[in-house]
């Protein structure tokens, strides 16, 4: 049973570029949440997707957008990259949308470096 997978593992971009990160949820899960983890910090919630819609959003600008596909996989897009967007991006999958009582399972993350 595959857990949460993310691609790519590492990514280097320059300021102003756009990036797309991908996540496949754990088998049987229908909900994907994205988090940004800056170096030495705890993860910060970006948004959650359930039934192909953004259900909840954290305090991130519109440059951060996402999508969920019918197979429940998800993409995180970041436009107009800034140096401060350098971070580890974590995807977490769970069941049932806005259901805090259900465990979120995390992927290994994508390390984004913006030069």
């Amino acid at each position: 049973d595959a857990g949460v997978t993310q691609s790519p593992t590492h990514l280097i971009k320059t300021r102003g570029q756009q990036v797309t990160l991908r996540c496949s949820p754990k088998s049987g899960h229908d909900t994907v949440s994205w988090y940004q983890q800056a170096l030495g910090q705890g993860p910060q919630f970006i948004f959650q997707y359930y039934e192909e819609e953004e259900r909840q959003r954290g305090n991130f600008p519109d440059r951060f957008s996402g999508h969920q596909f019918p197979n429940y996989s998800s993409e995180l897009n970041v436009n107009a990259l800034l140096l401060g967007d350098s971070a580890l991006y974590l995807c977490a999958s769970s069941l049932g949308g806005l259901a805090g009582y259900n465990e979120q399972f995390f992927g290994p993350g994508t390390r984004l470096t913006v030069l």
Partner: protein
């Protein structure tokens, strides 16, 4: 707004000994869940233990147990018989029952020394 505070940036413990990591949180909610997550140097975050706020009994998972003090809004993690594989960042996290956003503390870096 909910906040989670971990006041110990780094801790160390000798192998086989016991260590306690501290966490406090702030919320006006009654229906919520608390978690301790472990993030080893390989990065993948895994759940260590969870506590439902409506349960008075402290959660335990093998060598891991919590001391949940709801009135004081305190949620500490005790690791007994520490092992080298316990070396990791430990994050305390909070979530409301009908929300999707885990709120994390800044983490405690635990080193287990042989």
């Amino acid at each position: 707004a909910q906040t989670v505070t971990q006041s110990q940036p780094e801790m160390s413990v000798q192998e086989a000994e016991t260590v306690t990591l501290s966490c406090t949180y702030d919320t006006s909610e009654n229906n919520y869940y608390l978690f301790w997550y472990k993030q080893p140097p390989s990065r993948q975050m895994i759940l260590v233990i969870r506590q439902e706020a409506y349960k008075q009994q402290n959660a335990t998972e093998n060598r891991f147990s919590v001391n949940f003090q709801k009135a004081a809004k305190s949620f500490s993690l005790k690791i007994s018989d520490s092992q080298l594989g316990d070396t990791a960042m430990y994050f305390c996290a909070f979530i409301r029952r009908s929300q999707g956003n885990l709120i994390f503390g800044k983490g405690t870096k635990l080193s287990v020394k042989p």
